[in-house]
């Protein structure tokens, strides 16, 4: 007996229902993935991401190569045809920058002397690695790029990334030969910054648009359009003073930052091998005296020592006298209520007498 002649002749597979069951099962799986990824401190799926990026990096490099070659060719042709005008512009810029260079050299010299005198520990140079961007995601939900160097070249999660104009982002994932850079414009990006003019602190928050927001700005009127925004180094994630952009009012009324890194293509970048302050300064240095120059000061002379002792004795006697007066005032009986005085009384007592004069040449 053939199958179609049997009792199952009219049996039809309910394809819509089986499809619906498949949808529900996949949706439940997706929700579980979402929850597990959101609750974990570090994504448990990092190995899967690293595996895909290891494959995607070289392939993306193949796609990016013709674009880069075309860019080089157009630059070459443009340079050939516009050589004269570019030469004039460069000469003009060179003439304008000459006095700035002299000032920079002088200021660098003075700064170095101040640092030596005060015993300041300036941040040492941070080693860098050059990388090429091979893939790009740009939507509102993700702004990230794949770079063609990874953990084998010493890249670690958290390393800041810059281009020739300023800060671009930071590394959020690495595999052997590829790393993922989160741009400043990504929704998940938060960067502690400062306003160069006022030293006010703020947090630069990406929202998927080209110009990230300035949030939690400290101080009233501390930001003006055109103010330069730099990394503050707070929290230790970024070195201090890396240029980011200039402040501008957004159409929604919030402060936003026009990024310097948008002035050119983000194709070649430099990854700063900077992790945190602990990397720059060893534990022994942190436990050292705050002013290293104190060790190098000569011994005080007899006159200086006596002047220091004299000043300390005056300060002690003044403090004792003030304490005695406070005790006497506390022990005195409460004043009898009297009618309101005709003249207003002075609002505050005069300040306590200061030592008559500081010792000549004395420094406390």
């Amino acid at each position: 007996m053939a199958f179609r002649d049997g009792p199952f002749e009219n049996l039809k597979v309910p394809l819509v229902w089986t499809s619906a069951v498949a949808v529900v099962v996949c949706a439940v799986g997706a929700i579980l993935l979402l929850i597990s990824d959101a609750r974990a401190q570090a994504s448990p799926y990092q190995p899967a991401r690293a595996a895909v990026e290891t494959v995607a990096g070289p392939v993306g490099g193949v796609f990016a190569a013709p674009v880069r070659w075309f860019g080089h060719v157009s630059d070459y042709v443009g340079g050939y045809f516009f050589a004269v005008s570019e030469n004039r512009r460069l000469k003009r810029e060179l003439a304008e920058l000459q006095p700035w260079r002299d000032q920079a050299i002088a200021l660098k010299n003075i700064n170095a002397r101040y640092e030596a005198m005060l015993g300041l520990r300036a941040e040492p140079d941070v080693p860098m690695r050059t990388a090429r961007s091979v893939s790009d995601s740009r939507g509102p939900f993700s702004n990230a790029r794949l770079l063609d160097i990874g953990a084998r070249q010493g890249i670690k999660v958290g390393n800041p990334v810059i281009n020739e104009h300023g800060l671009v982002g930071r590394v959020v994932g690495t595999s052997g030969s590829v790393s993922r850079m989160l741009l400043l414009t990504d929704v998940a990006s938060r960067t502690p910054v400062l306003v160069d003019r006022t030293d006010a602190r703020a947090i630069l928050t990406g929202d998927g648009s080209g110009n990230p927001r300035l949030e939690f700005v400290r101080g009233v009127g501390s930001v003006q359009p055109g103010d330069r925004i730099l990394t503050s180094g707070d929290g230790g994630g970024f070195p201090r003073g890396v240029p980011i952009g200039v402040a501008a009012k957004g159409i929604d009324g919030t402060w936003r930052v026009k990024l310097f890194s948008d002035r050119g293509a983000i194709d070649f970048v430099k990854i700063l091998l900077f992790e945190d302050f602990g990397q720059l300064i060893g534990a022994d240095d942190l436990n050292a005296a705050p002013l290293a120059a104190l060790d190098t000061l000569p011994e005080a002379t007899g006159a200086q020592a006596s002047a220091i002792d004299d000043a300390a004795a005056r300060r002690d006697s003044a403090a004792r006298a003030a304490a005695e007066r406070a005790r006497a005032a506390a022990a005195a009986p409460p004043p009898v209520p009297t009618p309101a005085p005709a003249q207003p009384r002075p609002q505050a007592a005069p300040p306590p007498a200061q030592p008559a004069a500081s010792p000549p040449g004395g420094t406390e």
């Binding site: 089986t18 674009v67 893939s135 939507g139 939900f141 993700s142 998940a188 983000i266």
Partner: protein, 172 residues
């Protein structure tokens, strides 16, 4: 003597696997970091075309699985929250599957309105998930910048439906 009738069957390889591979490849190519006249390449969510067209072509068990896989690919490749795009794409599939009997044979304009509505739902789900997970709402302008190219892909969905809707005579 009756001659055997040739039954034309378009298997899932033609209407599921190949389009899925093409979608992944195009997503890959559009991620190339290039700027033309100051503008980057568009970045539409191409699998939304498949999520809309597949349930109209034919209900299938394989299609939701492939759709979820494509969503996971987007999550990993774009560096997003795992599970966000599978959920958004499956939402489109579920809505169209539920309204399949109404949508079959409708005019192209009606299909486009439904496509736009389904894409809007999927982007809304993604927007809410991202807002909750990042603690920060993405820019609406940036969202529009991804929604518009995705909507412009509707002709591909329409073409797929026309091409494969009658691909298996057993489903007439």
């Amino acid at each position: 003597m009756r001659r055997p009738v040739a039954v034309r069957v378009v298997g899932p390889t033609q209407w599921i696997v190949y389009p899925a591979l093409i979608t992944a490849a195009v997503t890959f190519i559009l991620a190339t970091p290039v700027k033309l006249f100051g503008f980057s390449l568009p970045e539409p969510v191409i699998p939304m075309v498949l999520a809309f067209a597949w349930p109209l072509i034919r209900p299938s068990v394989i299609a939701p699985l492939v759709l979820a896989t494509l969503g996971l690919f987007l999550d990993i490749f774009w560096g997003g929250q795992m599970g966000m795009w599978p959920l958004s794409l499956l939402a489109i599939y579920a809505v169209v599957l539920g309204s399949r009997s109404f949508l079959i044979g409708q005019d192209t304009v009606v299909l486009f309105v439904w496509y736009a509505a389904c894409c809007g739902l999927a982007f809304l789900i993604a927007y809410l998930i991202k807002t909750v997970s990042a603690g920060n709402a993405p820019s609406i302008l940036a969202l529009i910048g991804q929604v518009v190219p995705t909507l412009l892909l509707f002709p591909f969905a329409d073409r797929m439906i026309e091409r494969f809707e009658d691909g298996d005579v057993r489903f007439r």
